[in-house]
């Protein structure tokens, strides 16, 4: 009952790394989220988003096949209200600017353990 009351949002994680997905799931569950799905590629993410419609998508950028930024654009093309947070080991300014310009709601740099996940989730849900 307590766990149900604490769940505030549904999320999907997208990363080709199992370790990265597990880390995100742990952090986001701790922040009060409920996992609605996982995807291992950009293409997988776009397809799953259509059926799952999570409150927030946390998506890696560098993945084989369809990369995260392209998947972001495709998700937004289908649902302009989608909330997508990019998660990446790369963090140079031009990349972050590009992601935000293309519609990402936030950008988290790996490793995620120091990211203020509660604050990020609250901020993104308020958009």
């Amino acid at each position: 009952m307590q766990a149900e009351q604490n769940r505030q949002f549904n999320f999907m994680v997208v990363d080709d790394s199992e370790f990265a997905r597990k880390s995100l799931i742990k952090a986001l569950t701790h922040a009060g989220g409920a996992l609605s799905g996982e995807a291992v590629s950009g293409q997988d993410a776009v397809q799953k988003y259509r059926t799952l419609k999570p409150d927030i998508v946390f998506m890696d950028i560098t993945m084989p096949g369809v990369e995260g930024i392209d998947a972001l654009e495709q998700i937004l093309a289908g649902d302009s209200s989608a909330r997508v947070v990019m998660v990446s080991s790369l963090s140079h300014q031009s990349l972050v600017r590009d992601a935000l310009k293309k519609g990402a709601k936030h950008f988290i740099t790996k490793p995620i353990q120091n990211a203020p996940m509660d604050e990020i989730v609250r901020f993104v849900l308020s958009l």
Binding site: S17, T62, S89, H92, L95, Q113
Partner: protein, 155 residues
Amino acid sequence: MRLDYINTFIDSVADALEETSGAPVSRGAIKLRGESSARLDIAAVIGMTGDVDGRVIIEMDRVTALAISGNMNKEPSGELDPLAMDTLRELANILVARAVSALNDRSFVFRLTPPLLFTGADLARSGRINLESLMVPLHANAGTINLHVALTMNT
């Protein structure tokens, strides 16, 4: 290799390792080698392109690899199973991507390929390239990680 980017590269990798491990990291003496090759039990090889050509190797012994994987997963890694290997691959990606981002913010154009992980008998497949290589040991709580940087600037 040029000092202006190599120092930033090494500093960024060390900082990222410190952040990932949650403990201080100290640097050992830099050594120059005439070629780039992996010698320890586990090596992640990352190709570099853009303003440079070459590769970066992040290598460690098995004990260190298991300790690092255990720390990152918050549970002991008893063997180099697929999750442990994936964790180490992700570590290599985080470390080198930090350096690439720092340099890109200084107007260099560095790009990296996804890490390839080699262990044991496969290590020889990581190859050897005849490119001058800097080797820096990074001493973390879990053990020592050797960072090899073998890059040439594209003119």
